[in-house]
Symmetry: C2
Subunit: 192 residues, 2 copies
DNA sequence: CGGTCTCTTGACGGAGTTCAAAGCTAGTGG
DNA sequence: CCACTAGCTTTGAACTCCGTCAAGAGACCG
């Protein structure tokens, strides 16, 4: 797992080899089974998480039992509940593995140390946050005004590989539409 | 306008008086009429914006002519299109005054200078970004899974003062529901 | 005082949801 | 390695709620 992460950092950050080695030295490794939880609402998100392989979903549980999905996080990306992590307060969201997954974890205090040590890491982290914001905006816009067809089309364009890896009901939960509607759309698209 | 902003900074940041003075010295003042645009989609967002008085809306224009609203920004808060500002690339969104408004502007290069000069300002800016992320998440969740009634209720709780200052059609555009539905909800609530 | 913008209300149509049942797939355990 | 089962997907029918269209009343601004 670690070598894959090292490789990722070499290509996606400006960090030096010693810096990368130091970052890896503080990482904890963990494997998640399908559907295994990494964070449950009410718990405090104590770790920064990098996904080496697999897919995680960040979701909420509504009063009626539905599970709207805020985000999918796949290999070579990060996943945390920022609010719970930053302020070390109980999380409102859940994070769980959709597939069997391998993740690297850093204790918040360790990661904070690394951020203070390496300006390059800090800069990299800020870029991640920014990109997250841009994507969230687009997603919010789609949720507000796009038709189900458009939402599905956007999703298929942005995450073509996830289409085949996720249960449809999760895609529906991510798009904010019913499973029934999603099925209809996919069938309609086939007709073209 | 400047004194009001100075006061705001004193209460909401850890900045020192000289720092505040320096920040203000680089600010540009501008007044916006009702419905006047501050940023039009396609333009580059060249300024950081602080709202001294009034309300701005950040919105998109859909193919069908509707104007979904991503965010309202009221007095004592900031408003920019982060993506366009950070990367100095054409904006996808519009920003316009809902009421006559007074704003302070900083050229990006000036503000970047200030951020580099004052760690306290940087820290303050990061807090703003974080809060923005938390709020966006909540909003996305509501857009995905809440009923129109719940969305309106949340809005009324979170922004009680805006309720009376905004045209209802804008609240509808913000909640992602039709004006008709919004009217229906408000009437229903009255009955209780 | 006129005009524009805003809000309300009605009727209608349709898209999406819910409920339920059945077939299929894939993962699990023996 | 196979059989079984649980979960996933599809489909149908009925319904509900939201959106569109249109008209009219009211409020506010210039």
């Amino acid at each position: 797992m670690i070598p894959a992460f090292e490789n990722y950092l070499r290509h996606h950050s400006q960090l030096t080899e010693p810096e990368i080695a130091r970052i890896c030295s503080l990482a904890l490794q963990r494997k998640l089974k399908r559907n295994e939880s990494l964070l449950i609402a009410g718990e405090i998100c104590r770790h920064k998480v990098f996904i080496v392989s697999g897919v995680l979903r960040t979701y909420s549980v509504s009063g009626d039992g539905s599970e709207p999905i805020l985000q999918f996080s796949q290999e070579n990306s990060w996943a945390i509940d920022a609010e719970s992590y930053d302020q070390q307060q109980p999380s409102r969201y859940n994070i769980a593995a959709v597939e069997p997954s391998e993740v690297l974890l850093w204790h918040k205090r360790d990661f904070d140390t690394l951020l203070a040590e390496f300006p390059g890491l800090k800069k990299y982290a800020e870029q991640l946050i920014s990109r997250n914001i841009y994507i969230s905006r687009q997603r919010l816009l789609a949720a507000l005004s796009a038709t189900p067809e458009e939402k599905y089309g956007d999703f298929a364009n942005n995450y073509p590989d996830l289409l085949s890896r996720l249960p449809l009901r999760m895609i529906a939960a991510y798009l904010g539409i019913s499973l029934k509607t999603l099925t209809r759309i996919r069938h309609a698209q086939w007709a073209r």
